[in-house]
């Protein structure tokens, strides 16, 4: 299974990934009608950082979703049935990556569900020409401690 990886040192906040996401992803456009990408690159004194769903192997958001809106899809990615979201923001409360896009006026939370349909190379990764954004094997990204924790963990 694959997931996103961000290399802060290579990012110069050009925002091409955000633009590409907002243009292609029907989901974020449909819901807001405006420029609302699922990927957010933010600046901090310590450097840029990315907020995007990592499609975790243990996915605390799926366990926390009282509306059963977030589910693990057949391809292992975390998908969302936006119509079932009732805006309790339990997912936002448990997501350690701050990936949930909470839109107060719509009383819903949104996330990357790879709706751009490019599972080999998502639109945002394709748009990044700085070498800051990758989509590769999730297991390789996990450190030893996390790998040990996930061993034998029954996936939802």
């Amino acid at each position: 299974m694959k997931a996103f990886r961000f290399i802060a040192e290579n990012c110069d906040l050009c925002r091409k990934c955000e633009e590409a996401c907002a243009q292609v992803c029907g989901s974020s456009k449909k819901q807001s009608g405006a420029y609302v990408p699922h990927i957010r690159v933010m600046q901090s004194p310590e450097g840029p950082f990315m907020r995007l769903c990592k499609h975790c192997e243990d996915a605390p958001c799926v366990d926390a979703c009282i509306g059963e809106s977030l589910q693990r899809g057949p391809n292992g990615l975390i998908i969302q049935d936006e119509d079932r979201c009732i805006g309790c923001f339990m997912c936002n409360m448990v997501c350690p990556h701050g990936a949930m896009k909470t839109i107060m006026s719509q009383e819903k939370a949104f996330k990357c569900t790879l709706m751009c349909g490019k599972e080999e190379k998502p639109t945002c990764v394709f748009a990044c020409d700085r070498g800051a954004l990758f989509f590769d094997d999730l297991r390789a990204q996990n450190n030893e401690k996390r790998r040990a924790k996930l061993r034998g963990y029954p996936k939802k």
Binding site: G47, C91, M93, H97, P154
Partner: protein, 430 residues
Amino acid sequence: MKKIKTASTTGRQHVIVGNCIAAVSAAETLRKMNPQDSIVIIGEEDVPSYSRCLITYFLGDMITRKHLLSHDAQWYAERNVELMLSSRAEGLDVKNRQVMVRQNGKNKTVSYDTLLVATGSTPIFLPAFPYDPDGIIGMRNYADSVRLKSWAKKGKKAVIIGAGFVGLKSAYGLVKQGVQVKVVELLPTVLGRMTDLEASARVKARLTRHELLEIELNNSVIATRKRGDGYVVTYQDGTEEACDFIVASVGVRACTDFLKDSGVDIDRIVLVDDRQQTSVDGIYAAGDVCRSRHIVTGEWIYNAIWPVAAAGARIAAANMSGEKLTYEGNIPMNSVDFYELWITAIGNVQDEGPDVEEITFKTPAIYQKVKLRGGVPFAFMSIGNVDGAGIIRGAIVGKTPWEEFVRRPNAKVLPVVNSYAADPAATACA
């Protein structure tokens, strides 16, 4: 151990008592890990599984019946799970590995190889407000929401006892139906220990902006009596108030009745071990019926929240399938929205002590508070802006020192961290 013949000829029989999230989460895992075994779910209600957290949204017509009842017969059929509805577990024979069930007036026995107790919890009623199907009920299941909905007509008046999450969410739903609601709470804060006085005042102000909703703190109901079609409640100061119906939401107790005298160790709640197994071999428990670990302190606590039920049940199911997994537990937490005012609370915000430090961030729209002990955050509460709450939950669960946490790039998403990093002296107060 003597193995008895079971209903299944191909494999073992896993029986789950209860039919909410812990049950369906366990059934899913059991099916994935044991394609040949038979799985039986014994559900007390007459509808298939649904999310109990959504019944107040159903009450307020924010979601439809179809949306609420998410698991249809097909869901069970696809996973080859036998579902017994309207079936109440009434006893347990540990020696012969059988559950005694009463279904539509008939007694049945269901044999099991492994059993999962996922009966959940039920509202507490006190002598001052005893359960009365005609007008004093709790808000716990689908039937409760249907009944409340049938009573919730414009011009009616309801008294809700308890201003916890269920009480306020019920009030929110009833007000949406045009019912005049009064919420009475014994504590000085709404939402129990998850808010402080200021947060409580903000939530109360937002909710009671609605003309039909009144919230009274530091008060309690000491008696109720029937009068005509309605009820009269007596408050602790002796004043009386008439209403049409009453919702009790002062807390829940675990549904352990059918385990009485079975040999399963219970101390109000089912005492499970780290593998979710009870004191009896082969009998597991998950969800609101049993205890779980506090993920930070490691203490056994009663943490009756959805994520604990979902994750704990999956661990239980894996162990019922022969794995040896432990569940690390979770932290008390909750998140809710009233009229676009979001509230997220993680840990006990009211925890005080000489070694406790707090850091706050206040604007008219946002109120955030972090509590530290020994420089490590242990509780967080946010009102107005809850964006990125999970990032600080990660620090609480991971026992990350505050000074280290505030230097993390993504921590700056939180206003309380951002303002502290800019000027520690201004935001920290002892």
